[in-house]
Subunit: 354 residues, 2 copies
Amino acid sequence: MELSERKKKILRAVVESYIQTAEPVGSKALAQLAGLKVSSATIRNELADLTELGYLEQPHTSAGRIPSPQGYRLYVNELMEEQRLSLEETKQINDALHLKMRELDKVIDQAGRMVSQLTNYPAFSLTEGARRLTIKRFDLILVDSASFIAVVMTDSSVVKNKLFRLPAELSEPQLQLLTTLLNTAFVGKTLDQLTPELMHVAEHAAGSSYGLISLVVSFAMEVLDELESSAVYTAGASHILDHPEYQDVGKAQKLMSYLSEDKALAQALALPALQDDSTKILIGPENVADELKDTSVVLASYDIGDGMKGVIGVVGPTRMDYAKVAAKLSYVADGLSKLFGQPELPPGMPEKEE
Amino acid sequence: MELSERKKKILRAVVESYIQTAEPVGSKALAQLAGLKVSSATIRNELADLTELGYLEQPHTSAGRIPSPQGYRLYVNELMEEQRLSLEETKQINDALHLKMRELDKVIDQAGRMVSQLTNYPAFSLTEGARRLTIKRFDLILVDSASFIAVVMTDSSVVKNKLFRLPAELSEPQLQLLTTLLNTAFVGKTLDQLTPELMHVAEHAAGSSYGLISLVVSFAMEVLDELESSAVYTAGASHILDHPEYQDVGKAQKLMSYLSEDKALAQALALPALQDDSTKILIGPENVADELKDTSVVLASYDIGDGMKGVIGVVGPTRMDYAKVAAKLSYVADGLSKLFGQPELPPGMPEKEE
DNA sequence: TTTAGCACTCATCCTTTCTGAGTGCTAAAG
DNA sequence: CTTTAGCACTCAGAAAGGATGAGTGCTAAA
């Protein structure tokens, strides 16, 4: 059954007032607030209906109404107005995103912090663990006769390096040989194809400097392993103390410690968000994780490039300013997607405002 | 004036009992606990003396005594017994430290998390911003005709790389030229010696591919800048909620938000710790920062190598288990120093238990 | 110097009372 | 049939009054 216009208007007023004040809303206050020219008695009747239908709840008999999860859901689906960010806000976000070196994990972490600061809720950001990666090429750079740099590049175009110091002398030709060997034997292999057997064979071919092969390949394996495992960053957990629903230290603590369990978070939250691209809102009991049953989560996903995705999200009480949070979050997520999609600046072209 | 043996014994008993229970300690309890064969009345007299002298405080007239900051100070300086870590604990620490790739920032971050988890207090770790660094060498690796990898190495032997994609074609000889140019013009220069003028000159010499010079040099500058700026990591802030002194949400919130101000933390804490190498304990009002006036901090410093240092520390209420925390912290700090001091494994020698 | 005894203090807990916001229901008005 | 005014009722939360008991300081005797 579709709700009457008036009921919707009232529901919306209840939700928005409660979001602001965190106090149950009474019929009298609504009579003024909702812009309806009816008396509080009429509103009381409507409120009774809405409660009956499950959109509102009463903390106790003589209190005003607060939205139920179902009420929030209707609000989010139909009643909420798209929030537009102020110029100042967009500028702030853009600045923060473009800052500094474009290292994946740092950017993601930074984005989470920013979102938390922007919304006053705890935030988290994570990257989906990449599927089977391989090494695309090896390079070895001789620094001096006792050290060299190994540079490996994956098929997802991530480049990592490591400096190796050695007790023994090492010549340029030796290093050349090793490089060729590495590039023949280990390129295009996934992590579990890099077997000890394979390494033995290559070590044999390497002659005297056989030990270096395993050294470099282990490094390559570490790189693959790290890239394939998903990372989770949380930020601003202390913000939950800002909100009156967490005045109870016990509650706050429970949520906080849940938030610091990276793995649980990733599991519970990555799944729903990675389904499609839009911003997802999970209200209270809609969350699968028990710890989040009276908590809401807003999620947005972004593209890291190369078909990979990440998720950025915000956690807060069900009484959350969904409109604002969703707007900010999707703006940041879009920003991230653009950032990772955008190729390196062409030479001679200094950075420019769009 | 030196305290009598008995007074010390009583003070110590008060401190240790209060650390455990967080409850003011009364004369009766002490009579049993302190292993003294005197009556509670005698103890009461002694307690009155200790209070007079400023080592103890009374929350209110009819309560037991709690240690004053001065009392904790005496305890820490003279009365506290060196705590030894259990084998299990040392093993846990060692395992956590040796895990994964040896990237400076990740290890430091990880160490902070571990300390927090180990002590149940919030922890932080930071690295002193390096002094004037320079680039020691540049290498450019051609990937394909439209992209190359820049590898830069600082005089502190940190190596960083970045992949550049270009719209224009690029040949091996061109890249060779660029490399030589970079290594002649920009090696050995500090960040502020890498002036625009210098870049103009080099760009001129580079001919057609002049844009690449500034691209790579900007990258190098980013690297230097990042290494020279100090980084702060905090972990386990939520642990403060475990302790009864922060049942008051307002208090907890204040401390938490202070802990998330990286810069303030770094300033307030790096200074005292970097003075010398021992473990430092700052009790309540001994802290310079106002926000920490009723909070204690335990600090230990470690060597990152190359003459640089970092600090790792723990924050908690003045009622803190100083003995345990100090022991764990200095063990971890030592572990970090060793970790960074230890050179790369020689080839052919697989990792081994010591 | 130590101890027993005793009156006194004061946070904490528990119960009781009071208050007021907000309700549901009824009956009259539109 | 819908809206409104009026009124009795409910109940959380604040305020106020005891009661409890741990712990003290002081005095006087051992």
